[in-house]
Amino acid sequence: MAVTRRTGILIVLCIAAAAIIIAWRPTVLIYGIQQAGLYAAIAIPMGLVLGIVHIVNLAHGEFMMVAAYATYFACKALGMDPLLAVLPAAAVTAGFGWIVFQLTIKRALKAPELNQLILTFGLGIVMSQGVNLLFTSQTRKISLDYVSASMDIGDLSFGIWSFVFVAVAVVYAYGLKFFLTRTTLGKAALAVGQNPRGAAIVGIDVNRVYGIVFALALALVGGMGALFITKAAIFPMVGAPFTMKSFCLVAVAGIGNIPGILGASVLLGLSESILRAFRETRGWADIVFFVLIIVVILGRSLKWSFPLKGRKA
């Protein structure tokens, strides 16, 4: 069934409304795109793991939170700028992820999906509660001058630092695409994602590829943890909403469609930004992603042909 005429009209109306609001308040567009960049940069690694290892990592946001905490304390202790911590944070998180993978997730790869969900959900709780016990629930922030950099175009003034997330998201998406389609290890990872039996038959060490992909995803999330703290305050539960939103975005894009996450993030970021533009609707912004995910799941089960390409499992 194609998208029905009524939904088509609804979609067109939504786009028209968005266009009017953006024309009236262009910063809505700018902040929406910046937010989209943040969401996409965090969701893309989750999409990588889901597409290849076929695990929904419900501790995804918590890994970023842990990386942000590690960065925070390292920067406080050494008087270092978090930007210098991006690569070390990526490396440390990747190592941490590798260990977690070998100790826990690897053993659940053949388990029913529900067990895998419970496992990663539990890992997330252990991480956020662990951080809570060690460092309390106090929010922490690093103040940096360059974060408040702004730009004026005519009578429009807006912060520009968060464009760094957009840049990271684009680099992540196309970097991964290049890795997966042009390098031997990347192709092996794709092959494992599509058919682990077939991959083993041609000599690919499937478990090793799973571990590498998981660690790579966590490196990307770890780097984002260091960047995240340049902009936002952190606390033990800061990662949780990102897990949910990342999952939503990966689902909207369709499993295995990493560049599609960029598009899905723009949809989410813009919707949130539009709702945040008005005092009356501000409180609704946080539930947009629920609406998105419901629409997508409903659409998939009713077999609407979405313009977003998905992959049959």
């Binding site: 031997t184 192709k187 092996a188 794709l190 092959a191 599509q194 058919n195 039996r197 077939g198 991959a199 083993a200 038959i201 041609v202 000599g203 690919i204 060490d205 499937v206 295995g256 992959r311």
Partner: protein, 234 residues
Amino acid sequence: MILEIAGLETGYGKLRVLSGVSLSIGAESVGLFGPNGAGKTTLINTIMGMNRVWKGSVRFEGRDIGGLPTHEVARAGIALVPQERELFPLMSVADNLALGAAFIPHVVSRKEELLEQVLALFPILKERYRQLAGTMSGGQQRQVAIGRALMANPKLLILDEPSLGLQPSIVAEVFERLGQLKKTVSILVTEQNVRESLRAVDRGLVLENGAIVIEGTAAELARNPHVERSYLGI
């Protein structure tokens, strides 16, 4: 002997499928025959390390490979064309073939040469080089699977029902090619089409009730009354 199996037992859960299979393969091609459900695929998957060995041994070039993970068996020099093909459906024919060679240490430097041979053997793969493997027809996919296995330049090539779904002219070509290959590669092949394959192999084995019940040269098998009755339909 390149492959030596002795007293092999295996199965699934409580179900014993093989109860003491012994066989050996040298520089030759060997056909493995048996009724549906006899355990031919099970035997092959056990050689490839996809099923656990309950008892007995599997030796490849003198080395015990029972218990090795599948990818190490493949790297040691055994290539499999699985009954279910097991291709990478969302990757091109080109990538499927390339992955056949990419992780086998002793062929990485000979990739181009092997690819040329494979494309000469299956012209359709050259024609459809950029098509996604999953969108090829069943018979075409079987050709991709055989081509992918040949890309590994194996010492032992195992084919599980290679003619399944192939048109007769291509079956004939595959068997002819197997005939050429057996000069350089040892081959183990299962087939429902016993008559055709007995023309291509040097020796045949019949697997029934979990064990090898008949063993002999192709000519001997063709004359064997039990084989004639059960497999040649005379």
